[in-house]
């Protein structure tokens, strides 16, 4: 294997990792703060992609998708939260899994009802449609954009978490929810804000993924399990955990596909099983006191 090939695969892995990271942030916060498994998180990704696609069709520009997709996912997330998730918090893991499992089916059929049962394409914007030369290799510019966007958002989220009041409330909520609440922090409101932000990021991931992957009803199912794996491997509730987990799974998936094609589908599940056994709380566990 020559170094050029290695570079291309590294970039591919990084690109997929950034998508997974955008998705994992929201899921991780829900699991870390509320101990809640939201299987319907992928649905928001799909909705972001389809709304973005519709907006781009109408406006004739990819950037319209980027503007329309994330808020649509956030709005839907807010409805989910008010209607279902809030009252499911005390319900136990199994019921949460099953209710959000039901939501997946409702989501897929709703999308089929509105946009039909077709694969749609959202072409990359013309500015980014070409290729770029890096270290003697040719690489699609759009994929570099995805990597840059992911890294930039990771930095912004990190700063937001460490430097803002909301960020402090979220960190406190993950560490010890009861204590934070008794100190007068409005954890409920902080959680709602972060939940909506996570949904917006999932919607953003849907739009950003659209030119690379395909848009179709059921695309949520294809991404949900890898995202869950990222969260579990990284350690729920930690931004750095989601980032590290996304890198690990993104690379495992990409290199698995080229190095051991027969077991490529296998790799990420094996990584997860191994991670759960060696570090049941994730690579970077939240500092839970309870």
């Amino acid at each position: 294997m020559d170094s050029g090939f290695l570079l291309l695969q590294l970039l591919n892995g990084l690109q997929f990792a950034m998508l997974l990271f955008l998705l994992a942030v929201g899921l991780s916060v829900v699991l870390g703060m509320m101990n809640f498994i939201n299987l319907a998180h992928g649905t928001l990704y799909m909705v972001g992609a389809f709304v973005g696609f519709a907006a781009a069709e109408r406006a004739g520009s990819f950037w319209a998708a980027l503007v329309a997709g994330p808020p649509a996912a956030a709005a839907l997330g807010a409805v989910f939260y008010a209607g279902l998730l809030r009252r499911m918090q005390q319900a136990g893991a199994m019921k949460q899994v099953l209710v959000t499992f039901g939501l997946i089916f409702v989501g897929i059929d709703t999308v089929r009802l509105i946009w039909g049962d077709y694969e749609q394409t959202l072409p990359a914007p013309s500015v980014l449609a070409g290729s770029v030369h890096i270290l003697g290799q040719v690489y699609p510019a759009y994929r570099l954009f995805v990597i840059a966007l992911g890294l930039m958002l990771a930095l912004i989220l990190h700063l937001g978490l460490e430097r803002t009041r909301l960020g402090a409330a979220v960190r406190a909520g993950v560490d010890d929810r009861v204590m934070a609440a008794s100190l007068g922090l409005d954890i409920e409101r902080a959680f709602f804000a972060v939940f909506c932000l996570g949904c917006a990021l999932a919607g953003l991931a849907g739009v950003v993924a659209a030119p690379v992957l395909e848009i179709y009803p059921g695309m949520d199912m294809a991404i949900l399990i890898p995202t869950l794996i990222v969260v579990v491997v990284g350690g729920p509730g930690r931004l750095a955990g989601a980032f590290l987990g996304a890198l690990l799974i993104g690379m495992a998936e990409t290199f698995g596909a080229v190095l051991v094609p027969d077991f490529s589908g296998f790799m990420i599940y094996a990584v997860m099983a191994l991670a759960l056994l060696l570090r049941p709380q994730g690579l970077l566990p939240a500092r839970h006191s309870s």
């Binding site: 199994m94 899994v97 099953l98 039901g102 059929d109 490529s264 599940y269 759960l276």
Partner: protein, 315 residues
């Protein structure tokens, strides 16, 4: 025998009578449904042992269903062996795999147990999706049928298959009723209710959980083998995680930890799916909404409605 158990057995006997009556008087389509329901009922009962009694919520139980089906189909196909031996080999394959995987997964609890069973289930699915020896994504068709000519039965005939499957489901019910009423079964419930206490009393908790996991896996494999017999076809769809989710819903729908509840849950689920998919192309939405309503509003499942004290318990 507690009053709850007596009530379960009465409901089970009534269901068996209803199934036999339906078998006697329904036409071709009804017979096919009955066979389908009986297979899912066995699968759902095996999961109930795990979720309802031992308190282990698995989102990967379809792995053993699929392993049983694939082992049955491939042994009957490749080795030209007797299909009935292949069915037994399928049960053994599923049971032994469950024993091996169980040894790893029972160390985790709660959300992490759900996740690791999901991971193992998906590993199996990803394997069969690619495995050329087993037909890859297209699966394998032309599964050879068990020859019951000596009994005057032909499993290719839905009526005969339904009868055999109903009897098999009744036998699995009896087996599980005996197991759950045995000291072993009582211990499972005890460690589910309070693991710390069970541990303090000196119960080898992990070993009990493992035994339940292996047993549930073997029975799921039996259901899988029967499914391969029924459809004459196996595919990776058998193992995908949504199949695990569906069977979990059947268990919840009927009532956790009641054995007979999951049978009723399977019947309702199968019938409803056929009715809805005949009515509309968007039947998944209707099923999803039904699903959510069941979880939100019928905590103890159907059996919970009939009982004063619901055993419904969250993992």
């Amino acid at each position: 025998m507690s009053t709850g158990e007596r009530r379960q057995h009465i409901v089970a006997a009534l269901l068996l009578l209803a199934a036999l009556a339906a078998w006697r008087f329904s036409g071709y389509a009804g017979e096919d449904r009955l066979g389908e329901i009986a297979v899912w009922a066995i699968f759902a009962m095996s999961l109930d042992l795990l979720v309802g009694y031992a308190g282990l919520v698995s989102l990967g139980h379809a792995l053993f269903f699929g392993l049983g089906a694939y082992a049955m189909a491939s042994l009957a196909l490749f080795l030209k062996g007797s299909p009935s031996l292949a069915l037994l080999a399928g049960v053994a394959t599923a049971g032994l795999s469950a024993l091996a995987i169980g040894a790893i997964v029972v160390r985790l609890a709660g959300v992490f147990f759900i996740m690791i069973t999901l991971a193992f289930g998906q590993m199996g699915w990803a394997y069969f999706l690619r495995a050329r020896a087993f037909g890859g994504i297209g699966g394998m068709s032309g599964v050879r049928q068990i020859d019951l000519g000596r009994l005057g039965l032909d499993l290719a005939n839905p009526a005969d298959f339904a009868l055999i499957a109903i009897i098999a489901a009744a036998l699995v019910y009896l087996l599980l009723a005996l197991i759950t009423a045995s000291p072993f079964g009582r211990m499972l419930v005890a460690l589910h209710q309070n693991e710390h206490r069970a541990r303090a009393l000196g119960l080898p908790v992990q070993r009990y959980k493992l035994a339940a996991f292996a047993l549930a896996g073997a029975l799921a494999g039996f259901a899988g083998g029967l499914q391969a017999q029924r459809t004459g076809f196996v595919s990776p769809e058998l193992l995908v995680w949504t199949t695990s989710g569906e069977v979990l819903i059947m268990v919840i729908l009927g009532g956790l930890g009641t054995l007979v509840g999951p049978v009723a849950g399977a019947a309702i689920w199968v019938v409803l799916r056929h009715i809805l998919s005949d009515m509309t192309a968007y039947w998944m939405m209707a099923m999803g909404l039904f699903f959510i309503a069941v979880v939100l509003f019928a905590g103890g499942g159907l059996m919970g409605l009939a009982r004063p004290r619901a055993a419904a318990d969250d993992a």
